[in-house]
């Protein structure tokens, strides 16, 4: 199987779905001839032309709302949000419009659109350009939210999101763009969006993570293995609707639960996982579940401060050990 980068996986997914369905089109800032500031739309403009690959003005409310209009009139728009932080700009169009339209219409409309938001910390972009936004829209009924932790996920979930007839927010991480992985491209069949996935099996602790925290959790599992501790690492993948059955199943075997998110713990998905697992597998827990996340202040710029704010593999491993 070929190894491609996360960035190339996104491009491949967009190419394949845009070739397959002429009703798809993509809009965003600088995504046309420039291929996107993160090169996630490389070559699309040359292949599909300006009608289907559109550079927008800096108007997130405008073009995200336009995506709703396109979806309601038979098109399948994809929007690239350059920095997930900018979801704050078009928040109303998402929460009051996109997420609610179908239900408010009595189920008589369909909103097949995808918002791809590139976020995440670690690259010194400072507080206003480093949100993963994975918890910002967590409570919005009517929205599907998925998070891609690696190239295969970025590819598979984007294709599935484009084929989904509901509004999907796909979170991508800028620190993962150059990450390489095996991706089976080019098949016609696509697995629909579904829940959590076990990436590394273990018997002693369950670690649940999303986006860049998945890689750090896998690294933590390696550190723990040196001390004879076998950690099971689960990529949560789908934040909404959230299915924690695989996590509860894991905790029934390991009895220890740790969640790792790149957002503040307060208001984050970690608490939801803990609540659901506690409801499903309370008697199986040998220790109170622990959550790791960002500190309770906006992300600082200075490299040592940013690095200290993001949960490290060492911190994840130490947390697991503290529960055993």
């Amino acid at each position: 199987m070929p190894e491609i980068t996360y960035r190339e996986a996104i491009v491949a997914a967009l190419q394949e779905e845009m070739r397959r369905d002429p009703r798809t089109l993509i809009m965003g800032e600088d995504i046309g001839p420039s291929g996107g500031p993160f090169k996630t739309c490389q070559g699309l403009y040359e292949e599909f032309g300006p009608a289907r690959v559109r550079d927008t003005p800096i108007s997130e409310t405008g073009f995200v709302g336009a995506a709703l209009g396109l979806a309601l009139t038979g098109y399948r728009p994809i929007v690239e949000i350059m920095f997930a932080d900018f979801l704050g700009v078009c928040f109303d169009q998402i929460v009051s419009g996109i997420a609610k339209h179908r239900l408010m219409s009595g189920g008589r409309t369909m909103v097949p659109l995808v918002i791809r938001a590139i976020g995440g910390a670690g690259l010194r972009f400072a507080a206003q350009h480093s949100q993963t936004a994975e918890s910002w829209l967590l409570s919005v009924q009517g929205l599907k939210i998925v998070a891609a932790s690696g190239p295969a996920e970025a590819y598979g979930m984007l294709r599935a999101a484009i084929r989904d007839n509901n509004p999907v927010l796909l979170l991508e991480h800028k620190a993962l763009l150059s990450l390489k992985g095996e991706v089976a491209t080019g098949s016609d069949a696509v697995e629909p969006l579904s829940g959590a996935r076990v990436l590394r099996e273990g018997t002693d602790a369950t670690i649940v993570a999303t986006l860049a925290m998945v890689g750090r959790s896998l690294a933590a599992a390696e550190l723990l293995a040196k001390d004879g501790i076998a950690a099971e690492v689960i990529d949560l993948r789908v934040l909404r609707p959230m299915d924690t059955s695989a996590i509860s199943e894991s905790v029934r075997r390991t009895n220890i639960l740790v969640t790792v998110e790149e957002q503040a713990k307060l208001g984050g998905w970690g608490a939801e996982v803990v609540a659901q697992v506690a409801a499903d597998a309370f008697d199986e827990l040998d220790a109170p579940p622990a959550r790791l996340g960002l500190p309770e202040y906006p992300l600082p710029y200075s490299p040592p401060l940013e690095d200290a704010a993001i949960p490290s593999p060492e911190a994840i491993a130490a947390t697991v050990k503290s529960l055993l």
């Binding site: 089109l25 009608a51 559109r54 927008t56 003005p57 108007s59 409310t61 405008g62 073009f63 995200v64 709302g65 336009a66 995506a67 709703l68 209009g69 396109l70 979806a71 309601l72 009139t73 038979g74 098109y75 728009p77 109303d92 169009q93 009051s96 419009g97 339209h101 179908r102 239900l103 408010m104 219409s105 009595g106 189920g107 008589r108 409309t109 369909m110 097949p112 009924q141 009517g142 599907k144 007839n165 509901n166």
Partner: protein, 335 residues
């Protein structure tokens, strides 16, 4: 001849001038809106309509004139003061009442309410409760129209209050930059909720706003249904031919308060008085009678028959079953 029972036609906008039948249809459309809104007011006071509702008595000429200039395959977005636009596009009255009453037989199964009437088959793609919220959506529909290449247009109705919110500015800019067939129809009734326009906006002729986007604009007497029809027809023809968007400011006035039972005490009685004299439901039939196009007895008959149809629709709606509280609504959320 039973004039009230003929369907209101969606006019072919290539018609250079209105026929007598068109004029009667315009009058009938305005009567239907007025009678519907008056009934909603009564039903609200009877406890049949819940929460809040925003009525458009006085503004019927905008809805009727604009709808008559559009094609059945055009897209329309509008605001919470949207009953008139729905009726002008042929929404079933009983289904509309049932929606306001929260019944399962409502056009949105009781899931949306007064502020979210939607009827995708009639091109009514969305009714937006957040001021300005529908304008970017209308731009998207305008892009769809452009991509479809069939000469469709996207029309969006909004009030004077919307011209100060971000979504308006982004939508106007985007429509102009992409040359989209969008008609931005501003119903300037001089009040954003309870606050008069001179307190919120640097000028009262809102067509000026379009200049900031290099967009074509026209100002029209929004209480003159034929003037509205002409302005919308002309802008629609331009849009259909690839000439881009137009901002159409319709000067009008609402007879009632902003919502519910708002007595609108914030308005100068002299101002109210002068606008009531320009009530399209008084002025237009008088003009038609004078021109020999609609005899007063026929106009009265249209009103009486519409009232009867409204009563019948209300009774049917009020007899409608409530949705089941225990029902799983997920199928109406996700496909």
């Amino acid at each position: 001849m039973n004039l009230a029972q003929q369907p209101t036609t969606i006019g072919d906008n290539s018609a250079a001038s209105l026929t007598d039948a068109d004029r009667v249809a315009l009058f009938r459309s305005m009567v239907r809106i007025r009678e519907f809104e008056e009934q909603v007011q009564r039903s609200y006071l009877e406890g049949l309509v819940h929460g809040t509702t925003h009525l458009c008595q006085g503004q019927e000429a905008v809805a009727a004139g604009a709808a008559h200039a559009m094609r059945a395959d055009d897209y329309v977005t509008f605001t919470y003061r949207g009953h008139g636009h729905c009726l002008a596009r042929g929404m079933d009255m009983a289904a509309a009442f049932a929606e306001l009453f929260g019944r399962a037989s409502g056009i949105c199964r009781g899931l949306g309410g007064s502020m979210h009437l939607t009827d995708i088959e009639k091109g009514l793609i969305g009714c937006f409760g957040i001021v300005g919220g529908g304008l970017p959506v209308a731009v998207g529909a305008g892009l769809a129209a452009q991509l479809n290449g069939r000469g469709q247009i996207s029309t969006t109705f909004f009030g004077d209050g919307a011209v100060n919110i971000g979504a308006f500015h982004e939508a106007m800019n985007l429509a102009q930059v992409w040359g989209l067939p969008v008609l931005f129809i501003c119903e300037n009734n001089l009040y954003g909720e309870f606050t008069r326009i001179n307190h919120t906006t640097p000028f009262e002729n809102l067509a000026r706003r379009a200049g900031g986007y290099a967009m074509q604009a026209v100002m029209v007497d929004g209480n003159d249904v034929e003037a509205v029809f002409a302005a919308v027809s002309s802008a629609a023809a331009r849009g259909r031919a690839g000439g881009g968007p137009t901002f159409i400011e319709c000067k009008t006035y609402r007879h009632r308060g902003h919502s519910r039972t708002d007595p609108a005490k914030y308005r100068d009685p002299a101002e109210v008085e002068s606008w009531l004299k320009r009530d399209p439901l008084v002025v237009y039939p008088a003009q038609l009678a004078e021109r020999g196009m609609l005899a007063p007895a026929d106009a009265e008959r249209i009103v009486a028959e519409t009232r009867s149809a409204v009563k019948d629709a209300t009774d049917r709606a009020a007899a409608g079953a409530w949705p089941q509280a225990s029902a799983d609504l997920t199928p109406y959320m996700f496909v």
